[in-house]
Symmetry: none
Subunit: 166 residues, 4 copies
DNA sequence: TATGAATGAGAATTCATTCAT
DNA sequence: GATGAATGAATTCTCATTCAT
């Protein structure tokens, strides 16, 4: 928290005027991120006609949000997992909404005949999220080369979309 | 550490007869897991003739290792990320070896014509590991239903193998 | 450290705002004492014309500093020896400076013909310091009578000065 | 204690068959040393006709006992001070006997006219012991050169005997 | 007698949180 | 609102001591 205060250019105690606890800071950080993702989804996805296009857009977005923000990526992939409470309790409301949104793209695609039907949308959603998180983690802890996340997004989309095709 | 001691049924100090520090306990835990995975790979994979079969076997194995061991899965996906040293320094020797082994399956498959060539083996390996880790995480923190990991493994393999086909 | 905090009337953690470790508390305590001695030496000794007068002043000072401060004397003679690092590493810079300053009084006295020349200034310095420390130790651990250190200083000076006369 | 056991070539627990506690080991170590000194005193000192000769012999003996035994000297000068109980409680019976024996040499010398009478035998004894201990301390923590203690003993005797002369 | 693995009380240290200014 | 020194509970780790073998 002292580091956070320093980074924010305020005194240690000041954080507590805006957040009740460290947990809340992490939750708020995570919430912000997920909200941005959800906002993007409701703004942009409806413009895209097919499920495959929408899934590709989500992948681009999740990695694009972190490109150039290595420290933030580290917080998102590492620090957030240090809060068991966050993972156990908060995971439900917001994070699940995000996973559900991805799962819905998959099930929509299955209904429209764009995706194969023998795959659980929930499992697919977790796999997509996990793959993105895994790529982000090694990127954030490694050399964090510029452009690497973009290339990874394209390749991951290529593989997943063909893999999900009927 | 106190919890670990309690779980092991020994006194707090006893842990320090076998591990030099908390860090070493985590490293050792992670090392054991990765070593089991690497041992499996060198024992079993050579018996399988094609890269796709080997990749499916790896996926089955990584999830199979955790089936029925919910607490261990939680430690592996959550607690281990609490050690920055582990992630930053130890990641290299052992974990990288594991990711490299997966990447090699991919590149072997590309050489034999079983996998498409426009995907970086390294990115593929990270995506595979991340997908598995993400599935494990939500399983461990959720209801951890028996058999769920097995079904997930099959479906993930189905998607990835078709996605990686040339 | 808990005792130190209690004695200082602060919480345990507060000490760590001012000192990095227990070692640093001891070092700082010792440093303060030696610095006071060195400061006295550079302030007062130049005013005294002869080496014998200067040596007597040093003896009076080292014991005078502790008169009435029994607990501090105990810390200085007993607790400080608990830090091997302090004794082995820190001894050099500051403590050696003090011993050297005493040794210099002796060698100056030898040069001016006030002290006999068949005694190593370094050995003499160590003997003087040890004698003072031994007197302090038994005083601090015993009844610590008021005035006892002053009497001891006079007698020790009488003996040493005659002993060092040419 | 583990180090002591290792040095003695026995298991940790074995020490407790011979000593009740760490404190007792230190006490016993110190006791042994002082007993040797006291034994020497009752054996050899009576052979020496004058107080000055006896004081010189004591100084030679105390330093001679440690010559070539650097580790033992370190224990005697450093470790023993780490036991407050040892210093406070044990100091009385045995150590005081030693200091008293030295003080008696001084008072005998005063009675026979060999030593000046304006010096307290007790203070003199403490100063002698402290000077010897200070010389030993810096010797043990420093380079512990062979022969250095012998030279120091001679010089210290020369100074003290002349200083104590009437 | 001897062993040495196990013990657990005690000690140093950290860090999220508070509150007087 | 903002500060940052102070807090103290919690945590890691040590080491003298015990006791089943």
């Amino acid at each position: 928290m002292s580091d956070v205060a320093k980074a924010a250019g305020v005194a240690d105690g000041t954080i507590y005027l805006y957040f009740k606890s460290k947990e809340e800071v992490l939750i708020s950080l995570f919430e912000d991120r997920v909200e941005k993702l959800l906002a993007f989804m409701s703004d942009e996805l409806p413009k895209l006609p097919t499920a495959p296009q929408r899934l590709r857009a989500v992948i681009d977005m999740q990695l694009g949000l972190l490109e150039g923000e290595r420290e933030f990526a580290e917080v998102v992939t590492v620090i957030i997992r240090q809060s068991t409470k966050l993972l156990k309790e908060f995971a439900a409301p917001k994070f699940t909404a995000y996973l559900d949104a991805i799962a819905r793209i998959v099930s929509d695609g299955q209904a429209s005949g764009d995706f194969r039907k023998d795959v659980s949308p929930h499992i697919a959603a977790r796999a997509v999220f996990g793959a993105l998180d895994g790529i982000t983690l090694t990127w954030a802890l490694g050399r964090a080369e510029h452009g690497a996340l973009g290339r990874a997004a394209t390749q991951l989309s290529d593989v997943l979309l063909r893999g999900l095709a009927p």
